[in-house]
C-alpha cells in the first residue's frame, strides 16, 4: 500500500498522468459540446438532464486535472479526431436530439464495460486515483442510464 496515495515509480506515474490528461480533455470537450446542445434544445426535460450531465463532465475534468497536477503533470492533451467529430455533431443545432442520443448510445453498447472501467484496470498502485475514477464512473453510468431512458421516452413520444 502506498503511503502518499501516488504511484511510486516514474513510469507508473507517467502512465496515470497521461490517462488523466486524456480523460480531462475528453470531459471538457464533451461539456462544451453539451452546452451548445442545451442552447439549441427545445425540450425542457431533456435540457434539464443535459445541464446536470454537463456540470458533471466539467467537475470530472476539474478533478482529473487537479489530480494530474498533484502528481506533477501538466495538462496538454488534445482529443482524438473521432471524438472531435462526435462533439461537432452533438453541438450542431441542426441535428435532432434523437439522433444525438442515438449516436452517443451507439458508442457504449448496453452490456459492454465502460471506457472508464478499462482505464481503471490500467492504474495500479494508486488507490486515490482509482477511487476517484471509480466514483466518476458511477456518474458516467448514471448519465448513460439517463440517456437510454430519455432516448426511449423520445422514441415512444415520436419527438
Amino acid at each position: 500500500m502506498l503511503q502518499d496515495g501516488a504511484p511510486t515509480t516514474r513510469p507508473e506515474r507517467e502512465v496515470v498522468i497521461g490517462l488523466l490528461d486524456a480523460f480531462q480533455a475528453a470531459e471538457r470537450a464533451g461539456a462544451e459540446a453539451i452546452a451548445r446542445w442545451i442552447a439549441a434544445c427545445p425540450d425542457a426535460r431533456l435540457r434539464g438532464g443535459l445541464r446536470v450531465v454537463r456540470a458533471r463532465d466539467l467537475q470530472h475534468a476539474a478533478l482529473a486535472e487537479a489530480r494530474l497536477r498533484a502528481l506533477g503533470g501538466v495538462p496538454g492533451a488534445r482529443i482524438s479526431r473521432e471524438l472531435a467529430g462526435l462533439c461537432g455533431v452533438i453541438a450542431h443545432p441542426g441535428i435532432s436530439s434523437r439522433s444525438k442520443l442515438a449516436m452517443l448510445l451507439a458508442r457504449v453498447p448496453e452490456h459492454a464495460p465502460s471506457p472508464l472501467a478499462t482505464l481503471l484496470r490500467r492504474i495500479e498502485g494508486d488507490a486515490e486515483t482509482q477511487a476517484m475514477l471509480e466514483t466518476i464512473g458511477d456518474d458516467e453510468q448514471a448519465t448513460l442510464e439517463w440517456l437510454r431512458a430519455t432516448s426511449d421516452a423520445l422514441e415512444r413520444e415520436g419527438a
Partner: protein, 163 residues
C-alpha cells in the same frame, strides 16, 4: 413554481455548499487513500449541484439566500476536519443519516410533484437525487470494505458492484 419549491431549491443549494465545505475539511485529514479519492469526487458532485441550483434560481428570478447556521456548519467542519476523529467514525456519522441508499433521494422526491409545470427543473433534480443516492451507496460500500478487511483496502470491484 410554488414558494415552497423555490425555498427547497435554495435550501438544497445551501446544504450542498456546506456539504462541500465539510468534505474539503475531511479530505485534508483523511488517512485512507481510496476514501480520499472518492471523497474528492463526492465533493465535486456537491459543488456541481450547488452551482446548478444557484444558476436555476437566478433564471427563475428567485433569491439564493439560504445558509446553514454558522454554529452547525462550524461544528461539522471541526468534527470532520479533525485528525483525532477516525475516518471510520466519520463514515458512520454520515451513513447514520441514510439508513438506506434510497434515503439520499427522498427529500427531492418529495418536492417533485410541485414541479409539474417546470420539467426542466424537475429533470435536473431527478438527476441530482441520483447523484445523492450514488454518494450514499459508495460510502456504504467503502465502509463495508473497511470493516471487512480492517486495513482500509478497497478495490473498485467491491461489494456493491459485485452484488
Amino acid at each position: 413554481m410554488t414558494e415552497r419549491a423555490l425555498g427547497f431549491l435554495d435550501d438544497l443549494r445551501a446544504a450542498e455548499v456546506a456539504g462541500a465545505e465539510v468534505l474539503a475539511a475531511w479530505i485534508d485529514v483523511c488517512t485512507h487513500d481510496g476514501l480520499r479519492g472518492g471523497l474528492r469526487t463526492i465533493r465535486g458532485r456537491e459543488l456541481a449541484h450547488a452551482e446548478l441550483l444557484a444558476e436555476r434560481l437566478r433564471e427563475l428570478g428567485a433569491p439564493a439566500t439560504a445558509a446553514l447556521s454558522d454554529e452547525v456548519r462550524q461544528a461539522a467542519v471541526a468534527r470532520f476536519g479533525s485528525p483525532a476523529v477516525a475516518d471510520e467514525e466519520k463514515l458512520g456519522l454520515t451513513l447514520a443519516q441514510y439508513p438506506d441508499d434510497a434515503d439520499g433521494r427522498r427529500p427531492i422526491a418529495g418536492v417533485l410533484p410541485e414541479l409539474a409545470d417546470d420539467p426542466e427543473t424537475a429533470e435536473m433534480l431527478r438527476l441530482v437525487a441520483e447523484g445523492e443516492a450514488a454518494t450514499v451507496a459508495w460510502l456504504r460500500a467503502y465502509a463495508a470494505g473497511l470493516s471487512r478487511r480492517g486495513d482500509g483496502a478497497h478495490r473498485p470491484t467491491g461489494g456493491r458492484r459485485a452484488s
